[in-house]
Subunit: 402 residues, 2 copies
């Protein structure tokens, strides 16, 4: 186990109609003038956001509203939000939505406490961020999509649309004060969005499970596996019964635990699949992050598993339920990867790049362009912890995924 | 899943020599004059506590020292600590030790922010605490024994020695600001203490696993099972190799996660074994909490399993590795309980009341006295969530455990 520090201070408030508690908690954390940030989508159209705002006002809070967040949220709206909040003297931010809305909120919250351009926190110079946020305006979340785990993570991903640049800023100032999770809110999601969420949640613990440590990582292995089992069992239930409350609730809480740092304690993390996917959905805005991961993860697995077959065998037998092939252990692993791909297909996910909208005709030139743009993790220009991947490796993974 | 709120704000700082960071974190949380609280035991005698104090002073902090905490920590020393801290104007408390030292620290911290007698928080009137703490002086922990999980729990257990009363106060003011966990510090523990810790850690998640909910509790079942697997795998390693760093580290982190609320999210909790054991070690100060649990838990299981055989079958097959007996499922459960008892024996634990020091000649009169004294959980005078137990049930469990 590597030395580590773990902090997950976000208060989880889980249950039916939990959103009615938002005003109470905002006041508990010192808020009085609140930005309600959202994507102007279904939750606005069905009146949910207006009902929350009415309740906040009834609780004695002032409210400013800013909608319009798009998937892979744009820097432009973040800048607009910062200007609006400064003008309106907002002292608390409430994200109502999924990862895109939460990340847009986090970026606004950082920008409010910074004199310079908030994009400084997202771009690098000589392999280091141009600047590191020192603080952030407090914010909370009403979660409406279980997927990114941004409600409990320290991560914020923003896209600069004019350059097709999707970049992140990981810092503890990005921790929400509270995350309100009403599982019923996720019941109206299209099956595709639910499935993308399940893939993303699994992926956050896969990135922490397939790590370079060679010793036996007992506790965190089991914690990651708890996420995998939960996602697969409850994902299958939701495919057949989208209104199953227990399955919705389990997936929602799994979303938060899979990306708050818990499953990665004392481990290095891989993150290659995520970094590569960020370039894919940064290049093709029509690609949903979870769908991109469903395509790239099995390809990544087939490309890297030889680095640590012991760990892949543990996953294959304990998680994917494959019987150990003692004569040819490799078969056990390949069967498990096939089963993962089958699970993704059963959930309605694409598992080839060519099945993704807009990516049908991905050619080698674009593969190379994206591969070269993947944010590097190591001074040698590579990405990934489990196996270090260079540009040519990434192109190979794209090829395997076509 | 029941509605729930989850908050675990304690910062975990894990690794070799992590104790050297104590001063930095105390200052981060606003401390300047620190009470160092301990048990005057091995860690004092081997110079560790003096080294920590020197480091705190080198970090610019003032230090007051109070040792002398005993197992099942006494109210008397808590009162002494409160008086000392008031006189010395202490603004931060640092517990160096295990559960007893941490709980004594928590009680002092509550008493410092309360005009009345701190015992008010521990005693009941008409089934409610006489008073509820509103705040507490901030405190941190350097953990030297992995067992009670008090470093991350909201719980505090104090004994009023003159009345043999062991009572608790569960409140979020009892959350430590940080818990420093250096696995090497636990290597010098006697095997018996290590084993008692393993039993206690397992027990904290068993109390959250065997709960009255009838639906399938997917995620938290797996999280509890992660704790069980980790304790059994790493416990066996430590029995043969007490200096195994990885096993020490896994047990230490499991201690914190097993009692910070994580494994009980959305569940009711049972706690009968704990409540009954508190009377046992409250009556016999020579009984270590973990050893008492090793005796009482299997007896409790055999007494209650028929309430929800499905859940016991899940535990028997997924955790204890028993093959399902489809003809007579009950056999699967009884075999699993036998295996748990065997594991405890392998760890050097007693598994009968008569093997506990001082309890050899426990008679029916004392059983009845203890059973009647068990703190009730429900208005009908019973204790336990999985199965409600009345005085006669508790006496039966004592009898089965003799």
């Amino acid at each position: 186990m590597n030395d580590f520090t773990y902090l997950s201070p976000t208060r989880l408030i889980v249950g039916r109609q939990a959103e009615n508690q938002a005003g109470t908690w905002i006041k508990e954390y010192g808020g009085s003038k609140v930005l309600v940030h959202h994507d102007s989508g279904f939750m606005k159209q069905n009146g949910f956001i207006d009902r929350v705002i009415e309740q906040l006002k009834a609780d004695g809070l002032s409210v400013v509203e800013l909608g319009g967040v798009v998937p892979n949220p744009h820097l432009e709206l973040v800048q607009e939000g910062i200007a609006l909040c400064k003008k309106e003297e907002v002292d608390f931010l409430l994200a109502i939505g999924g990862g895109s809305v939460i990340d847009s909120t986090k970026a606004i919250a950082m920008g409010l406490q910074y004199e310079g351009n908030v994009w400084d926190f997202f771009i690098e110079k000589d392999g280091e961020p141009l600047n590191v946020p020192a603080k952030s305006t407090p914010f909370g979340v009403i979660l409406t999509i279980a997927a990114t785990g941004s409600e409990c993570s320290n991560s914020c991903v923003i896209t600069k649309a004019d350059e097709n640049l999707k970049r992140f800023c990981d810092n503890d100032v990005n921790r929400a004060r509270f995350a309100i999770e009403d599982p019923e809110l996720t019941m109206s999601l299209p099956p595709f969005q639910t499935a993308c969420g399940v893939v993303d949640i699994m992926s956050h613990s896969m990135e922490r499970y397939f790590t370079p440590e060679k010793e036996n990582m007992v506790l965190t292995d089991y914690l990651c596996e708890a996420i995998f089992h939960t996602c697969m069992e409850c994902g299958r239930i939701l495919r057949d019964d989208p209104n199953n409350y227990e399955a919705r609730a389990n997936i929602m809480v799994a979303s938060s635990l899979s990306h708050n740092g818990l499953t990665g304690m004392g481990r290095t993390g891989d993150w290659a699949s995520h970094y590569i996917e960020h370039e894919l959905s940064g290049e093709y805005f029509s690609v949903t992050h979870g769908a991109g991961l469903a395509v790239l993860t099995p390809a990544w697995m087939r490309y890297v598993y030889k680095e640590n077959q012991t760990l892949f065998l543990k996953w294959a037998t304990r998680v994917m339920g494959v019987s150990m092939d003692y004569e040819k252990p490799e078969r056990t692993i390949l069967e498990a990867i096939d089963r993962l791909e089958t699970f993704y297909k059963e959930m309605g996910m694409p598992t080839r790049l060519s099945e993704l909208p807009g990516v049908e005709n991905l050619d080698e030139a674009v593969m190379e362009k994206m591969a070269k743009r993947v944010r590097v993790m190591h001074p040698d220009g590579s990405v990934g912890g489990f196996k270090r991947l260079y540009t040519e490796d990434i192109i190979n993974i794209f090829r395997m995924a076509m």
